[in-house]
Symmetry: D5
Subunit: 187 residues, 10 copies
């Protein structure tokens, strides 16, 4: 059974955001769309480029009413230290959650127990705190943040238009399908 359709489980965490240390709980994932992006380790290699790429999409995601959170098993202290040190990370303005207790990573089923590090999982969560999409890549395979906008648009359309279905590669404005018995076996 995948996590799709399940509600985010409770947690308490410290995060770094815009030069501040802030508290984050599962309640932050309710009332707006959320993108949650796990990565293994601060100060490691692929991660900065992925997180920079995510920052580049941040404005577009915010326009769609979506907030962005990155999570690693590092502390919020380390997030600040990295933010201060790395040119790429310094640009980041979204919330960087510290998960040293590994509880959030375990809840999202991306914790590598042997290493104590999170897999590279990206989750889209709807305003009810329910997980809508999961994407996880093995180490070394970078994620492309640019398709998050499309996925959220599709998810928002489905949410606003219950009873219609959204074919593959849907783009806003394109025709959608309202399921009817006649369509069975026709499309």
């Amino acid at each position: 059974m995948s996590l799709i359709g399940t509600e985010v489980q409770p947690f308490n965490a410290k995060a770094f955001k815009n030069g501040e240390f802030v508290d984050v709980t599962e309640e932050n994932f309710k009332g707006q769309w959320s993108v949650v992006c796990f990565y293994p380790a601060d100060f490691s290699f692929v991660c900065p480029t992925e997180l920079e790429d995510l920052q580049n999409e941040y404005a577009a995601l915010q326009e769609l009413g979506a907030e962005v959170y990155s999570v690693s098993t590092d502390t919020h202290f380390v997030h600040k230290g990295w933010h201060d040190s790395s040119e790429k990370i310094n640009k980041i303005t979204y919330t960087m959650i510290g998960d040293p207790s590994q509880k959030i990573s375990r809840n999202f089923e991306v914790l590598n127990e042997e290493e104590g590090l999170a897999d590279r999982g990206t989750f889209i969560i709807d305003p009810d705190g329910v997980i809508q999409t999961v994407e996880i890549n093995a180490g070394g395979i970078g994620r492309d943040a640019s398709n998050l906008v499309g996925k959220i648009r599709a998810a928002q359309y489905v949410r606003q238009n219950p009873g219609e279905v959204c074919p593959a590669k849907w783009e806003e404005g394109s025709e959608t399908l309202t399921p009817s018995l006649d369509l069975v076996g026709k499309i």
Copy 2:
């Protein structure tokens, strides 16, 4: 713990491919790259367009040395029936696996036990039968098969160039990074 980095578990199944009924096991996922695409049900709505979209990428994926498999909990008989009935499905030339025992869907952790149907999960598997990427969408949010090519290319590059890392949005020919201590905190 995610399925990333784990080997596909054993199974036996009947499939429909090119007008034939064939046997498929986990051994089929070894010796070449594989894309495995789960979907809930034949003769239902989003699925045909997703599967058609996957067919459109099939040639490109084959050029990369990747085989494509679709899986639902329907039987291979139903796959043939659908193939005969639906214009979109009729184009499909890749292997359509029947999983009425629900064993494969359960192994890939995409079985909705309540409904007896698979979630919309896509997996890329390397030639060792090890899962490299996972992507799962809630019902109604169509998948875009076009980014499979990019992901496999990245995965292949990482496999062929151990010791280099592949930043986000990597495209073939672009520069990659060889991890060195000096890069820590710099990128």
Copy 3:
């Protein structure tokens, strides 16, 4: 212990009937006589002829106040697809239940867990939802729907005439036996 004399256990299912998708629960089996006919798989071989044969008896069974339900572990979508494709199945006007969660088949103890398919079991259920007859055949041995009418008539006679017993090969109008002590060892 057989299922004879036990009440049908609760379930929720989607079915295809007369070009519509309808909901069916165990409550549908109460208030009238029901014939429930399990078979392994849509689009497979013996099944169509058995189901066609059942359709041929449908009018006669309805005259006896009996409803007819077929069940396989295929979805209601597939039932519609098969109905559209197959000349034999297209004639069917009774309710075709989809049991992809395999719950109904498991409740009636006809699920082949290894294959995920139902055995060829036929059940007659009385208006209290209590199972009165069970008949199950191995694959390949077709069922003869024509004796369902006789069985239901006998079951209805017994229900309406408690205290009489119905000898083998009973036919309506023929003499029945009222059990009395004198009959012991005489018949």
Copy 4:
């Protein structure tokens, strides 16, 4: 899971046959076709007519190479007593098994534990001792032995012609179907 396709479990019993007391085990069900007919109680009401009806088919069943066994939880002594007393039972020449230990009835899942009596179950067993058909009726609904001949013929045809399938209401000499991919969705 039904008993269809499972082998008869081991047992030891005393039986009455042709004026003799004989031993019967599960080995008697191997090497020829067998009809095993459970009924609740000697000296009770429906049973004699059902058993007489079975006797009437005995010759035809023997011509098909099938042996006939009746079973109740009465002893073999009682079977002899009943045979001596009842005009209908006196005609019986097939084997009447006594199952006072209730083990056989429990193995065939027809034992009513509360009453200590067997349900009215009829089983056809192939020469490997494997159950091919099950039929069970509630009390008062008589069984019609005449369709046993047809069922055994169908079962024998399937056994002798693996790869062909036998549509409903099959009768010897009628055309059977050899399953091929082309037939899917056509019949």
Copy 5:
């Protein structure tokens, strides 16, 4: 621990008595003295003579206010059939209990689980439903019903004269002993 001094456990049974089928429960064993006589099987060998012998004592036992019950794991139907067939059994006017569910035999600890038949146990039960004497013989060793009268008289004397004790081979009218300290070691 023996059953002596324990109350008969609850049961429900059908019995044959004087040409009628009657219901019997553990309540029938209260309010009068009862003799309960188990035997293995109707229509078998020693049993008829034992049961006939018991019938011969029935009048004398009734004069003592004692009722008589025979029990085997045969049904009440079989008891009637045997009553009709056997000259010896036909004389019986006491209650013949059918115990096909084997519950009574199990409660009295005389059920041979392997055979499903009762051992030859005779029990005297007082008007409170409490077991006063147990006698069980191996197969082939006939019981002598004639000493039941003496045992019940002794049991009744003890019940009516609490505080006296009844030496071996006591006969009505003979002197009994009132236990006193002086008797210790004297008798």
Copy 6:
């Protein structure tokens, strides 16, 4: 399940016999017929008369090749003390077993655990150490040793003439029955 037909379980005990202390084990019950008579307590009331009665039959039982053993949970020291004190007990020449460990009484299922005393059980054991008859009386109801001779004769006849059966109230020299099918329902 009664103890009839079961072998006596192992034990070690001290006994008093003919002015001597002797060892007794379950092996003493093999190679000859044995009568084992449990009683609650030395120096108590009914017991002496029962034991005296048993002594009176001792010679007759020995002629039949049967040994006699009395058992209580008293020690062998107490048996000697009682033998010395009581006129009735002083006559006893059979073996008086002491069972202070209560093991023998528990094995024969006659131990009243609450009181630590044995019920009044009498057992006949065949030369294989197998229990053939059980008789247990509540306190106050004396046993009549005189019918032990008859029971042992019957048991010996059955043992020497396997295949014949012994009707109730059988006495030596009287006609016995050889079971044959023809007798079923006739006697």
Copy 7:
């Protein structure tokens, strides 16, 4: 953990005292000092002399307000029998408890489970029913009752003078010690 300082556990027993049968429970051990003397068996060897010796001290113990109880796993009937037979035992006027259920012996942890006999344990119990001294000897080593008087006097002194301590070999009238810090390491 020894029994010293623990309260006597509940029991019910029959005893022989002064030619009477009396009831004894753990309540009898409250309100006065008690000496409880276990021994293996009536009518055995060391025991009579030990019990006679105890009788010789009885008057002195009574003067101290102490009652005396002997206990064996023999019954009260046997105690009377022994009292009648043995010159030594005949002198006894204290309470002889029968413990055939072995419960008291087990509670005082002196039951030899293998033999069903009590070890030779002597216990002094204070007026609260709390065990103050334990003495147990192996078989053959006789106890000397004469030191019971001294032990009870010491125990009584300690009870009446809490805060003083009583050195070894204390005798009434001799100086006792009131514990004070100054005594530590001095005596």
Copy 8:
């Protein structure tokens, strides 16, 4: 079950003896008679006088071939410290075992778990390491070491003269009893 007749369980301990620290194990209790004297605490009140009293008997016990050991849950360091400080303890020449791990006290069932101190138990152990006598007193009731000599003499006599028994208050040279059947109930 008491410890009488059981072998001392294994242990390892440090002890103080004659100005030396020595090792003691359960093997020290074999090959000669041993007196083992537990007491609660060094530097406390009753203990010194008891231990001094034991020292006074030491020579006499050694003449009988018996060694003496005192045990408390104090360490051997404390034993030395006490020996140096206390006039009474300074006289001690027997072995003073330290049991800070509380294992020996627990094995002899004299450990008060709540306090971590040993009860005042004295044990006589025979040359096979088997416990022959147990004596335990509540706090404040001093032990009298002088009767140890008598007990060991009695135990030695029994050991050397198996088959004789030793009446209460036995003293060397006095007549003992050889158990014979004639003595039962006579003494």
Copy 9:
């Protein structure tokens, strides 16, 4: 998980302090700072010098509002005995707790179960009874009590100035740090 930050668990003990025996519980560790110093054994080697060293710091610790407790598994009797005997220990004026039940040592996780002795652990406990520092040395490595003053001062400063942090080797009057985001990575 260490004991740091956990509350002291409940206990009851006797202690020696200033020539008195006093009761100590976990409540004594509340309302003031406490130093608890475990050591293996009175009258052993390193311990006296460690305890003397602790006495030397006692005045300074009291000035800081801290009480001092030593604990070993010896009794309070032994503490007094040692105090009287040893010149070094005689100087001690702080509380010497006796822990013969080993409960306190077990609660502080310093009990060597095999030996029954405590490891050399020193604990600083704050006025809420919460453990603030732990220091444990292997046998032979003496502790230096002089750094307790510094540790308590640091702990007191932190307690009185929540929100400031105290760098290593902090000494009263030196500058402390108030954590702020700007300090991350700077110090």
Copy 10:
């Protein structure tokens, strides 16, 4: 039970040392003395000064043949990042172990499971990999590294001079004690 005297459990970790990433296992703690210093988090407040203080003692510790390791649950990547950012940390030349799997911290019993961070524990380990000293401080109470030199010297002296003991505040060259019986209670 404390960790004193136990061997370090196996682990595998990545560490940062002198600008390199190196592997560290429990084997690194064998063959020389080791100081292992846990702290909660890189880039947090007290930690840098503690670690700087430890660096200041590093040369002196190396002269004693001791290696130094710091451990936090941060990764080795973060250690490098911190090393690059912080002036204080940049001076560090000893090995900084990353323990993101939390296994080492859990083995040393300093993991705060709720927070996922290590307590401030310092351990001295001897050349056999056996823990000799433990010191743990609550958050905010800085450690003073300067006393590590003294502790190691003392531990080394004890190791090289088995049989001597080392009083508190021992310094090299000062007199040590060789334990002898005479010293008991003297020092």
